[in-house]
């Protein structure tokens, strides 16, 4: 024992060492070394990330980590983005805020994704945390500009207010005026989600002019183009900027004013916004283009020639979001001009059109995979694909880490061979050994899942739709993908067997979502009863699953690991499988 003690370092030293360890994984590893390290670590952990707000209770977090300064929470399952999770499902942040208000008076940062945030929650934040600095609400909903007004009025040290893609109830554009005249600390403001809701331009200008550290400003669609120049002149230090609607009557004075304002921003690296683009105004940004590393044109309904021209001005581009108007020709230009490209997202301009809206095919993606050696992340919507193209892409770009392909029509086959895409996606997982995220589409049999289970050892998130033939498919994935954390499946013929046979795998994952599959109520109950560390929830808007035969498939199933037990805030259409179901029949 004496020898042991001689080797142990004083707590303060250990704490100092731990302060260099930022990643959660490493922190968790540190805390598992021994009891004293666990104790020291828990007192000095400052950042918490909870990937599923129902996996743990706020009380548990607070008890273990008493001195937290930054909290990140995620709520609804990813498929909520596509309206697959009914409204009222859950993901309420208020219970967390309420407990943290008392426990973490020095909390500085709250980052939420897919959670329901009410004005009451925002008011509580504004009241409770004197040194509050960062609020990021990503794809959240449930609050209005009144809540934002409370934040603006009270958070004197606020640096970051980012509402990306949240659904905000606009009651008044005057919430911005609630930032007092003495407030000068804004660094990053993103109100792009406010859409056509009007924000007081004069309040915006006053705010911008008194915040010298403002580096990122993303405006909403309602801010007219002729106001942009003035705003930019007030903040030439911006690094990231998002325009509003990029359209106005063509006037040379407006144009030259705008061009001048942009050229004044010597540090601008990222542009976004661009709703309703009038192409003739695009050259106003040319002076910035050579420095641009990130460009989001995914709302810009401009045609290929204009896009091509624009893209050829941006040799430093690392990240491009664009509509399929870019067409294969534009992507070929991208491939030859933008050798630093790391991320490409191509969205459909007309997802429901009978005919393809633009000449965008698999060729564009192949070109980019060939020409852009640093390409890592792809999200691509298209209407046709071939196995040959996928194999080429896989061989060209083994460094892909995220590959999400959406062939728009479900169960579309290879247009050249009429075969399923098993081979193509198989090549992707075989060659791209560091692939962490994959979304499948097109015609697929169980074979693709065998490939995925065999090769995709680093895969963490898999999205599957309209694919597979039998439970074998699901079994391959659950038994083969060692690193799998999130699996979301819709409209696949996967049933009970694979799920029950791999039940213990589910405890190693964050969550599993299955909707419109063939998992029976009986199997769900069994899972719920046998696996106490999992919360198995059935979402069924037809009424209590118990009112139908046990073999009847459930509409939706969401299973996630949790140390907090079944949740208490389930709406009427969500049933937990965890209690003894003989006690609960409705």
């Amino acid at each position: 024992m004496q020898k042991r003690l001689a080797y142990s370092l004083p707590d303060e030293v250990l704490e100092h060492v731990f302060s260099f360890i930022q990643s959660d994984k490493d922190r968790n590893a540190v805390s598992a070394v021994c009891k004293s390290w666990y104790e020291i670590e828990r007192w000095c952990r400052r950042k918490i990330f909870v990937g599923n707000c129902y996996a743990v209770s706020p009380g548990m977090v607070i008890r273990r980590f008493p001195e937290v300064r930054s909290v990140e929470l995620k709520g609804k399952p990813h498929f909520a983005d596509f309206n697959l999770v009914p409204d009222g499902w859950g993901g309420y942040v208020l219970p967390w805020i309420a407990e943290m208000a008392g426990a973490y008076p020095w909390l500085e940062a709250i980052r939420l994704k897919r959670m329901v945030v009410t004005d009451e929650s925002l008011e509580l934040i504004a009241k409770s945390f004197k040194n509050f600095k960062v609020l990021v609400l990503s794809s959240c909903e449930g609050f209005s500009t009144d809540g934002l007004a409370a934040i603006a009025a009270s958070c004197k040290n606020l640096r970051e207010l980012d509402l990306r893609e949240s659904d905000v109830d606009d009651l008044s554009g005057h919430w911005l005026s609630n930032f007092p005249e003495t407030y000068t600390s804004m660094v990053s403001l993103n109100i792009s989600c406010l859409g056509s809701d009007e924000v007081s331009i004069s309040a915006l200008e006053r705010l911008v002019s008194r915040c010298p550290n403002l580096r990122s400003l993303r405006l909403n669609r309602a801010v007219p183009l002729d106001k942009i120049a003035n705003i930019l002149r007030l903040a030439p230090q911006l690094i990231e900027f998002g325009t509003g609607a990029y359209s106005a009557e063509l006037r040379s004075d407006v144009f030259s004013n705008l061009a001048g304002a942009f050229s004044n921003c010597k540090e601008l690296k990222s542009l976004s916004g661009f709703w309703d683009v009038v192409p003739d105004y695009l050259p106003a940004i040319y002076s910035v283009c050579s420095r641009l590393t990130s460009l989001n044109l995914s709302y810009a309904t401009i045609q290929s020639p204009d896009l091509l021209k624009l893209v050829s001005h941006c040799p430093s581009l690392q990240r491009l979001l664009v509509l399929d108007y870019i067409e294969d020709s534009g992507l070929e230009a991208l491939a030859s001009n933008c050798k630093d490209l790391q991320e490409l997202r191509v969205f459909p301009s007309d997802p429901f059109g009978v005919e393809p809206n633009a000449s965008l095919t698999e060729q564009g993606l192949v070109a980019v995979s060939l020409g852009c050696p640093k390409l890592q992340s792809v999200l691509y919507f298209c209407r046709r694909m071939s196995n040959a193209a996928l194999v080429t892409i896989a061989k060209n770009r083994p460094n892909l880490t995220r590959f999400r392909l959406c062939i728009i029509e479900p169960r579309t086959a290879d247009y050249l061979t009429l075969e399923p895409f098993d081979i193509g996606f198989g090549a992707i997982v075989e060659h791209c050994k560091d692939l962490r995220r994959l979304s499948l589409s097109g015609l697929l049999t169980d074979l693709v899942f065998e490939y995925i289970g065999t090769y995709a050892k680093k895969l963490e998130m898999l999205s599957v739709a309209f694919a597979g033939d039998s439970d074998l498919g699901l079994h391959y994935v659950l038994s083969g993908c060692k690193s799998l954390r999130k699996l979301e499946i819709r409209d696949c013929p996967f049933g009970d067997k694979a799920l029950l046979a791999n039940a213990s795998k589910l405890e190693t994952m964050r969550s599993l979502w299955m909707s419109s599959c063939s998992v029976s109520y009986g199997a769900c109950k069994l899972l719920g009863q046998k696996m106490p560390k999992l919360n198995a929830e059935v979402i069924d808007e037809r009424g209590p699953p118990g009112s139908r035969p046990e073999s009847c498939p459930v509409e939706k199933l969401y299973i996630y690991r949790s140390v907090a037990g079944p949740r208490f805030d389930m709406p009427p259409f969500v049933w937990t499988m965890n209690e003894d179901s003989t006690l609960r029949l409705s």
Binding site: P86, G88, D276, T301, F352, V354, F466, D471, L526, S586
Partner: protein
């Protein structure tokens, strides 16, 4: 052991089924079901045998049992003419925040556009494009379509509507988007006074105001209690002004109007969101049955 789709409603069943008897039945059946499952470790995945519950069919949510929708609903829209509000199989539930998989055939029967072929089978949540992004494309398309529909009313030229300016530049997008965006993009937010958390309703699941009103009643009453009866504070008379609440909407120009004033299709083309407002607060909104030209503007507070 088939339960024949009988409803088990404890303490609230209005269907006349003897609930205790069914409860016992189902309890027994549940126990026997659980016992018949082999222990996990013994469960063999018969590789090579044809497995897959449902034999390759995708799990269906349009099971023919719509009895829940009918028995469980507290209100019936007795006061409304029996317009077919929606033809999907599930009683009221599919109009509420749509969840199931609607096949092309169903959505075609629901859609009230005349005979336009649907390109992509209009399945809920597919293609996987975030609502946020779709709304952006829709707003552009809606603005165009709304302008076409409103050409007789002459409210077009308002400077604050920034969407108008770009009409010339989106020629390609107009035709197909206007037809097809509805199937996916009919979700509008609806808030009810006194309830902090809003919901979303799919306008495309309805072809009339009555259907919409019915769905909203379901949504806001069902969310309050699952299978119990409670005295109604909101009568099923949202549309005729005789209840404590009225249904209002914000149009794309930001004005709040009473629902029901304009033809249904025009409404769908211009509505941005809904609010179930206390009648007492609805003063100043366009009184019912007035001509649209007389409408006053007021934003409810």
């Amino acid at each position: 052991m088939v339960m024949e789709g009988r409803l088990v409603l404890l303490g609230g069943g209005s269907s006349g089924v003897s609930t205790t008897e069914s409860a016992v039945l189902s309890k027994v059946e549940v126990v026997s079901e659980a016992c018949s499952y082999p222990a996990e470790s013994e469960l063999e995945l018969g590789l090579g045998l044809s497995l897959g519950g449902g034999g390759g069919s995708t799990g269906n949510t349009k099971a023919a049992n719509s009895s829940w929708g009918e028995c469980g609903r507290i209100l019936t829209a007795k006061d409304f003419p029996s317009v077919v509000s929606h033809r999907t199989n599930n009683g009221g539930s599919s109009s509420v925040a749509v969840s199931g998989t609607k096949r092309a055939a169903e959505t075609e029967s629901v859609s009230h556009d005349s005979g336009s072929p649907t390109g992509v089978s209009q399945v809920v949540g597919w293609p996987p494009i975030r609502a946020y992004r779709m709304n952006s494309l829709v707003n552009q398309a809606k603005a165009q379509r709304g302008d076409e529909l409103e050409s007789g009313i002459g409210e077009k030229d308002k400077p604050k509507d920034a969407l108008k300016k770009k009409l010339d530049y989106n020629g390609k997008q107009t035709s197909s988007a206007t037809v097809n965006e509805k199937a996916y993009l009919g979700f509008v937010k609806v808030n009810m006074d006194g309830i902090p958390i809003g919901r979303k309703v799919d306008l495309n699941a309805h072809s009339s105001y009555e259907g919409l009103a019915q769905a909203l009643e379901d949504m806001f009453l069902r969310s309050a209690n699952s299978a119990e009866k409670e005295p109604l504070t909101m009568a099923s008379k949202l549309l005729d002004g005789s209840s404590e609440f009225v249904l209002t909407y914000e149009d794309k120009e930001g004005d709040w109007m009473l629902v029901g004033d304009v033809p249904w299709r025009m409404f769908v083309g211009s509505v941005r969101r809904l609010r179930i407002m206390r009648t007492s607060e609805a003063n100043g909104l366009a009184p019912r049955f007035n001509e649209s030209n007389d409408r006053q503007r007021s934003k409810p507070i």
